[in-house]
Amino acid sequence: MKTIYKTVIGVIVMTIVGITAVACSSTKKGYTDVPDTATAAAKEEFKIEKSGAQMWGETCNRCHIAPSPADYNDTDWETISLHMRVRANLTENESKKIEEFLKSAN
């Protein structure tokens, strides 16, 4: 049994480290390059379409009921966004976009 679970842990740790390495090696440039094919352009458009407001509605309801923008001021939203980014393990993109929306709509 012991060897089995040590192997399981080993595999999990290696997968995580591997994914981290791959994700960190992709430079930011890759995201901002202007796509030259039609499909890439469409994809890019789709990405832009998902607004901070929509992400707020989907993401901030997952654990508790989502607070509305008016509940806090800009300074508070900055602290809360960082707190939630770490606690809820949100991506940088999600937390930045939602923070922008909350600050623009309060």
């Binding site: 997952r62 393990n89 991506t91």
Partner: protein
């Protein structure tokens, strides 16, 4: 003339002093917030031959958040509860976190453990849809709730789906070897703030949100340690391996007129077999058992958010099943099943009045060998701020 000069000076300097003291135009770069939550309630319990009813003293949990920069932050939660006539205090967590890059954040201190999702994300009274935790959590639970150590966590955007992870090393649990409390021999205690041996506990969680609407998340957590006993005791190298599976689905479904919320978690704990001692008729006897425990809960709740009536909109209906199985042959052998039903009224996004009926069937447990049926009625009020 002199008087006028003094008055002028006073007005000019006074105005400047006032302006400097109450300058609200420039927000400060560092931010400090006190938030938190409190809850209180009434409970009525009936276990056949015993009934009790009580109002609960308010539990108050202040949370301190200090944001130093866009990357560096500190969080801490204190807990104040009345136990009998005593004020019990606790430090739920206190940790520093630093965002290393877009995919990695480091944390250190005492933090809530991402072993499944219930303890880290769902247990605060204003988040939990029912007045209490499912079976398998809390003091006699098998899922670790917090740990002292270091952690790396973060998330990846997979272009629609997202993946999140965390890996940590903590002081790890302590095995109750029965020397002080023979009836608890074999139980893992996670409130181990000073390590009793050199081995640490290692663990982590991987969560996947497969759909771009973030409605669904599945997670796998593991927690492993090679030693749980006291250093240099015969129990030192009793190891333990725990794992958990969790599921979450939250979505507003127009066809159903509201938000459907499904949460579930399965916990499994496997502690290496060891020999313990019990006193039977004044004679010390050895015994041993297969030290495996597990627990499960599944919860479904529904909020009719699209209803036309303002009152109905704020209602929520909840049902939860949970079970807990402690190892056969242990002094604390137990098989329990619980059904909980609830009706909630949301006064705000962080304040809720919960009415709940629960029925629990316990076979064995700390209190004896027989079968006990306990019915409970709860009215709780939780508020976050």
């Amino acid at each position: 003339m002199k008087k006028l000069l003094v008055l002028l000076i006073a007005v000019v300097f006074g105005g400047q002093m006032y302006g400097q003291t109450y300058n609200t135009f420039e927000p400060s770069k560092t931010q400090f917030m006190i938030r938190g939550y409190g809850h209180t309630g009434f409970e009525y319990m009936d276990s056949g031959d015993e009934t009790e009813s009580t109002f609960l003293g308010l539990a108050y949990a202040p949370i301190f958040l200090y944001k130093h920069s866009d990357r560096l932050m500190f969080e801490a939660e204190l807990e104040f509860v009345l136990e009998g006539n005593q004020l019990e205090t606790g430090l739920e967590y206190a940790d520093v976190m630093y965002v290393l890059n877009k995919n990695i954040t480091a944390r250190a201190g005492k933090f809530l453990l991402p072993f499944g999702t219930f303890m880290e994300r769902l247990h605060p009274a204003w988040i939990n849809r029912l007045p209490n935790a499912p079976l398998g959590y809390g003091h006699d639970g098998i899922a670790p709730s917090s740990g002292i150590g270091v952690e790396l966590r973060g998330a990846f955007d997979l272009g629609g789906p997202t993946l999140n992870y965390s890996v940590y090393a903590t002081n790890g649990p302590r095995l109750n070897d029965g020397s002080d409390e023979p009836e608890e021999a074999g139980i893992l205690r996670f409130e181990n703030y000073e390590d009793t041996n050199l081995a640490k506990a290692y663990g982590g969680r991987l969560g996947l949100l497969p759909f771009s609407d973030s409605s669904t998340e599945i997670g796998f957590s593991a927690y492993s340690t090679s030693d749980t006993g006291e250093q240099d005791s015969e129990y030192e190298d009793v190891g333990a391996f725990l794992f958990a599976l969790d599921f979450s689905f939250v979505k507003q479904i127009s066809g159903l007129g509201g938000v459907v919320d499904v949460k579930a978690q399965y916990n499994n704990s496997n502690v290496d077999t060891a020999t313990y001692f019990e006193i039977v008729d004044g004679i010390e006897e050895e015994y041993s058992f297969d030290n495996q425990s597990n627990s499960f809960y599944g919860q479904l709740s529904y909020r009719p958010t699209m209803a036309s009536s303002d009152f109905v909109k704020k209602l929520e209906f909840v049902g939860r099943y949970s079970d807990f199985n402690a190892p056969e042959g242990a002094e604390w052998e137990e098989k329990s099943v619980q059904y909980a039903f609830g009706l909630n009224y949301w006064l705000s996004w962080r304040s809720v009045v919960k009415l709940s009926y629960q029925t629990t069937e316990t076979e064995g447990g700390h209190d004896g060998d027989g079968l006990t049926n306990t019915d409970g009625l709860f009215v709780h009020w939780a508020i976050g701020f």
